[in-house]
C-alpha cells in the first residue's frame, strides 16, 4: 500500500469516554492496591510467593502478552496487510518442548531468581555480568516499546494542545509518555508481583472481551461476516504474509524476527514472563499454564489484537470517506474503535487497551527491578562487604531498594523511547528490537541448557564476538546480511529490520560452536602459559589487545576489511583469555543446571531424594500449634494417602479453587501425629498462607 501523506487524528472520543477511562483506571488501581497488601518480602514482591494455580497464571499472561503493544502494532499491520498481521501469535508451539522440559524446570529447581544468576551458576560471575547488561538492555528496550505504544494509543484521544494560565502548551508524544510513565511507576512501586498478577488476571479477561466485542461491533457495522469477508482482497485473507515482499512486512523476515528470535526471547529471556511461571505453585502447573495459553488463548488473542486493522481495511474499501487508506497505521485501532463503538463503549475499549499496556509495562518494570536487586544490588553489597544487622532489616532495605529501582527503570524506559520513535510503525521498531537484542542471550541460554560442553569461554565469546559481528552486520548490511536475505529487498533507511535476526542468530551460534570445538587447543595453550613465569603478563597483554580490537569494531575505526579481521581476532582470542582467567569445573557447573541433569536439580530443590510415588490429595482442617515453623504435621492416615514421608515437600492451600492459590504455603512434611483430618501449622505459617479460621485446606505432596 502506498502512503503519500499519513492522516493523523486528535481529540477523538467524548467526555463520556474520558469519564469511563478515569473510572476504569481508578478501579484497576484499587484492585491492584488491595492485592499489594500480600507483599511481605522481596520474594512476594517479585515472585508472588510461588503459590498460584495454572489458570490464574494463564490469564495473567494474557494481559502481559496481548497488552504488550499488540493492539496498536498488529492492528496497524492488519490494516496494511490483513489477517497475516498477527500470524506470529501462532508460532510459539515449535519451542514448547525446550521450554517445558528444559528451561522451566531448571529455573525453578535451581532456585535462581533471575536469568543472569543462572549464568553465574552455570558459567561464571563474568558471564553473569555480561548477561546482566544484555538483559537490562533488552528489558529496558521492551519497556521503551511499551511506553511508545501507550503514547501512540493515547495521542489520538488528546487535543493538539491545551491552554494553561493563558499559555498554549502543545501535547507531544514524549510529553504524553512522561505522564503515563509517572502513573505506571506509582502503581508498580506500591504493588509488587502479587498485585500485578491479580490486576493482570482481571485485565486478561477484560482485554479478550473488549477485543472480541470490537470485532463484533465491526462486523455488525459492515453488515455481517459475509460482507466483511468478501470485502477483503485474497491477500488480506491469507494467514501468512507473502514470502519475501514487501521489505516492511514479509513472511520469512517476520518468521526469523518474531517467530524465532521474538518467541524464544519472550519464552526464555523475558524476565517478566519467567517470573509469572516462577509464581506457579509447581513446575507442572507452569507447563499447564504455558500449554493452555499457547494452544487456546493465543489464537483468540490473534483475533483480538488484529481485528481492528482488518475491519478498518474492509471499511476503507466499502466507505473510503469514512476511513481513508492514508490513515496512520499506528492510529487505526483508535480510529476504528471510535467509529464502530458508541460513546462510553469506546472509552471502555480504550481504557482496557491502555490499562493492559500499563500492565505489560508494570510487569517489565517489576522484572527489571528484580534483575537490578539480584544481579546488581546484592553482588555490589557483597563486594563492598556491607554488614546488615538482621535478616528482617535486610528484607526491609531490599524492598526499599526494589521500589527505588522500579522508579529508576521507569525513567530509563522513557528514555529508551527515543531509540524507537523514528520507526514508521511500532511493529517495525519492535521487529528491529527483537532482531538485534535477543540473539546473543537466546543462544547463550539455549546452549547453556542443552549442551554440557558449552563453557564460559563459549558463552563469553558468543556475547563479545557475536555482538562484534552483529555490529558489523548493522554497519554493512548490504555485504554481511544480504546473503541471508531470502530475496528481500533492502530498505535503505531501515535495512533488513527483520531478517537481520537470522544473520545475528547464525553468527552468535557459529561463534559459540567454534569456541567450544576449539576448547582443547585453548586448554592446551593456557596450560602452557600457566606454567611459564611470564604467562600472566602475556595474558594481560593479550587482554589489552582484545580490548583494542573491541574498541576498533565498536567505534568504527578502520576499513571494513580491518574491522572484519578485528572481529575474527576477538572470536579467536577471547576464549584463550576466558579459559586463562575463569575457574570452571564442568561437573560442578552443570550439575542440576542443564536439561541432562534435571534429576540433580530436583534433588537440590528438595534437599533430598524426590519421592515420585503418586499419592492422593487430602482435605484437612488446620490447628495452630507452637513448634518448628519449617514443617507442617499431618496424621499417619493422611500421610499414607498422600504416599508422603517426613522430609517430603508439601503444598497446602485453601480448598476454594477460585482463589487460585492466593491463600497457600509450601512446606515440608514433619513427623506424623494421630489426629486424622487435621494438619498442625504454626502461627507464622497461618499468617504467610493467609489461612482463614474454619476453612478447609487442600494438601498435596510435591515430591
Amino acid at each position: 500500500m502506498e502512503h503519500t501523506v499519513e492522516q493523523t487524528f486528535h481529540s477523538i472520543g467524548t467526555t463520556t469516554d474520558w469519564i469511563v477511562m478515569v473510572v476504569y483506571f481508578i478501579a484497576i488501581m484499587l484492585f491492584g492496591s488491595y492485592f499489594g497488601r500480600y507483599t511481605k518480602n522481596t520474594s512476594d514482591f517479585f515472585f508472588g510467593g510461588r503459590r498460584f494455580s495454572w489458570w490464574l497464571i494463564t490469564m495473567s499472561i494474557v494481559a502481559t502478552g496481548v497488552g504488550s503493544h499488540s493492539f496498536v502494532k498488529y492492528s496497524a499491520k492488519g490494516f496494511q496487510h490483513g489477517i497475516s498481521s498477527s500470524m506470529t501469535y501462532l508460532n510459539d508451539w515449535f519451542f514448547i518442548a525446550f521450554f517445558m522440559f528444559g528451561w522451566l524446570p531448571i529455573i525453578v529447581y535451581s532456585k535462581v531468581r533471575s536469568i543472569p544468576e543462572y549464568f553465574e551458576k552455570r558459567f561464571s560471575p563474568s558471564a553473569r555480568f555480561l548477561a546482566t547488561i544484555l538483559l537490562l538492555l533488552y528489558m529496558i528496550g521492551y519497556i521503551g516499546i511499551g511506553f511508545l505504544t501507550l503514547g501512540k494509543a493515547v495521542i489520538p484521544m488528546l487535543p493538539q494542545a491545551f491552554v494553561i494560565f493563558g499559555t498554549t502548551v502543545p501535547i507531544t508524544l514524549m510529553g504524553a509518555i512522561v505522564v503515563i510513565a509517572i502513573i505506571t511507576g506509582i502503581y508498580i512501586t506500591f504493588g509488587g508481583q502479587t498485585a500485578v498478577i491479580f490486576t493482570d488476571l482481571l485485565q486478561g479477561f477484560i482485554l479478550l472481551f473488549a477485543g472480541l466485542l470490537l470485532f463484533f461491533f465491526g462486523i455488525t457495522y459492515l453488515g455481517g461476516f459475509d460482507i466483511f469477508w468478501n470485502l477483503l482482497p485474497v491477500e488480506w485473507k491469507l494467514p501468512l504474509a507473502d514470502f519475501n515482499q514487501p521489505a516492511n512486512f514479509n513472511f520469512v523476515g517476520i518468521f526469523w524476527q518474531d517467530a524465532i528470535a521474538g518467541s524464544i526471547g519472550f519464552l526464555f529471556m523475558n524476565q517478566g514472563l519467567i517470573m509469572r511461571f516462577m509464581a506457579c505453585k509447581s513446575v507442572n502447573e507452569g507447563r499447564k499454564a504455558a500449554a493452555v495459553n499457547i494452544l487456546f488463548v493465543l489464537p483468540i488473542s490473534a483475533i483480538v489484537v488484529g481485528n481492528a486493522g482488518w475491519v478498518g481495511k474492509a471499511i476503507s474499501i466499502a466507505s473510503p470517506d469514512v476511513i481513508s487508506t492514508n490513515t496512520s497505521p499506528d492510529q487505526i485501532f483508535v480510529v476504528v474503535a471510535n467509529i464502530i463503538a458508541s460513546p462510553g463503549m469506546f472509552g471502555f475499549i480504550m481504557a482496557a487497551l491502555t490499562a493492559a499496556l500499563m500492565s505489560t509495562v508494570d510487569t517489565l518494570i517489576n522484572a527489571t527491578a528484580a534483575i537490578f536487586i539480584n544481579d546488581v544490588y546484592r553482588p555490589v553489597r557483597k563486594f563492598l562487604k556491607k554488614a546488615i544487622p538482621t535478616e528482617s532489616e535486610k528484607e526491609r532495605r531490599e524492598l526499599g531498594a526494589a521500589r527505588y529501582a522500579s522508579i529508576g527503570v521507569t525513567v530509563l524506559g522513557v528514555l529508551a523511547v527515543l531509540a524507537f520513535k523514528n520507526f514508521p510503525t511500532v511493529y517495525e521498531a519492535h521487529g528491529y528490537f527483537h532482531s538485534t537484542l535477543t540473539p546473543p542471550l537466546v543462544v547463550g541460554i539455549f546452549l547453556g541448557v542443552f549442551w554440557k560442553k558449552f563453557t564460559p569461554a563459549g558463552v563469553i565469546t558468543t556475547f563479545v564476538g557475536g555482538i562484534a559481528l552483529m555490529i558489523l552486520g548493522a554497519r554493512y548490511p548490504g555485504i554481511l546480511i544480504a546473503p541471508f536475505d531470502h530475496g528481500i529487498e533492502m530498505n535503505q533507511s531501515h535495512p533488513y529490520s527483520y531478517i537481520r535476526a537470522l544473520y545475528n542468530i547464525v553468527v552468535c551460534l557459529g561463534v559459540a560452536i567454534l569456541a567450544v570445538f576449539t576448547a582443547p587447543w585453548q586448554a592446551k595453550t593456557v596450560s602452557v602459559l600457566q606454567n611459564k613465569q611470564n604467562g600472566k603478563t602475556a595474558m594481560n597483554v593479550l587482554t589489552g589487545f582484545v580490548i583494542f580490537l573491541i574498541v576498533l569494531v565498536t567505534f568504527n575505526i578502520a576499513s571494513i576489511d580491518f574491522q572484519i579481521l578485528a572481529a575474527l581476532g576477538i572470536i579467536i582470542l577471547v576464549p584463550f583469555v576466558v579459559t586463562y582467567f575463569v575457574q570452571y569445573d564442568e561437573e560442578k557447573n552443570t550439575k542440576g543446571l542443564i536439561a541432562g541433569s534435571i534429576g540433580e536439580a530436583r534433588r537440590y530443590f528438595k534437599d533430598g531424594e524426590p519421592n515420585d510415588e503418586e499419592g492422593e490429595k487430602v482435605f484437612v482442617h488446620w490447628k495452630q500449634i507452637d513448634g518448628d515453623t519449617a514443617v507442617v504435621r499431618f496424621s499417619i492416615e493422611n500421610m499414607a494417602k498422600m504416599k508422603a514421608q517426613p522430609g517430603d515437600l508439601v503444598y497446602l492451600s485453601d480448598k476454594r479453587k477460585w482463589l487460585g492459590g492466593l491463600k497457600s504455603i509450601h512446606s515440608v512434611f514433619g513427623e506424623p501425629h494421630d489426629e486424622p483430618g487435621v494438619v498442625y501449622v504454626t502461627g507464622e505459617q497461618i499468617g504467610h498462607g493467609l489461612f482463614v479460621p474454619g476453612r478447609i485446606l487442600e494438601a498435596e505432596k510435591e515430591m
Binding site: 485474497v234 485473507k237 501468512l240 507473502d242 514470502f243
Partner: protein, 97 residues
C-alpha cells in the same frame, strides 16, 4: 494471480523448519532425560505436544484453504472446534487412567 509465494510457500517453510525445530526439541529433551516417557505424566504431555503441532498445522492449512476460496470460511472454526473437543476428551480420559 499466482499466490503460491503468499500461501503455500510460507506454509511449507513454516511447518518444514518449524516442524524440524519442534521434533528436535522433543528429541533433545528425551535424550537429556528431562522429558521421560517412562513417567506416565510425561506420556500425557507427549500427547499434548503432538496435538498442539497438529492443531496449529490444521489451523493454518484450513485458513489458507478458506482464503483461497477452496472451502467455506465457516468450516474453519467448525473443524477446529471438533479438534478441540477431541483434545479435551482424550486428555480427560488420560487423566482418569
Amino acid at each position: 494471480m499466482d499466490l503460491f509465494s503468499h500461501s503455500w510457500l510460507p506454509f511449507i517453510y513454516l511447518y518444514g523448519l518449524g516442524g524440524f525445530l519442534f521434533v528436535f526439541g522433543i528429541i533433545i529433551t528425551l535424550k537429556a532425560g528431562s522429558f521421560d516417557l517412562r513417567r506416565y505424566s510425561h506420556k500425557k504431555w507427549m500427547w499434548v505436544l503432538v496435538f498442539g503441532f497438529v492443531w496449529y498445522l490444521a489451523m493454518h492449512f484450513l485458513m489458507t484453504l478458506a482464503a483461497l476460496d477452496m472451502i467455506s470460511v465457516y468450516a474453519v472454526p467448525i473443524i477446529l472446534l471438533l479438534l478441540a473437543v477431541v483434545f479435551i476428551i482424550v486428555t480427560v480420559i488420560l487423566r482418569k487412567k
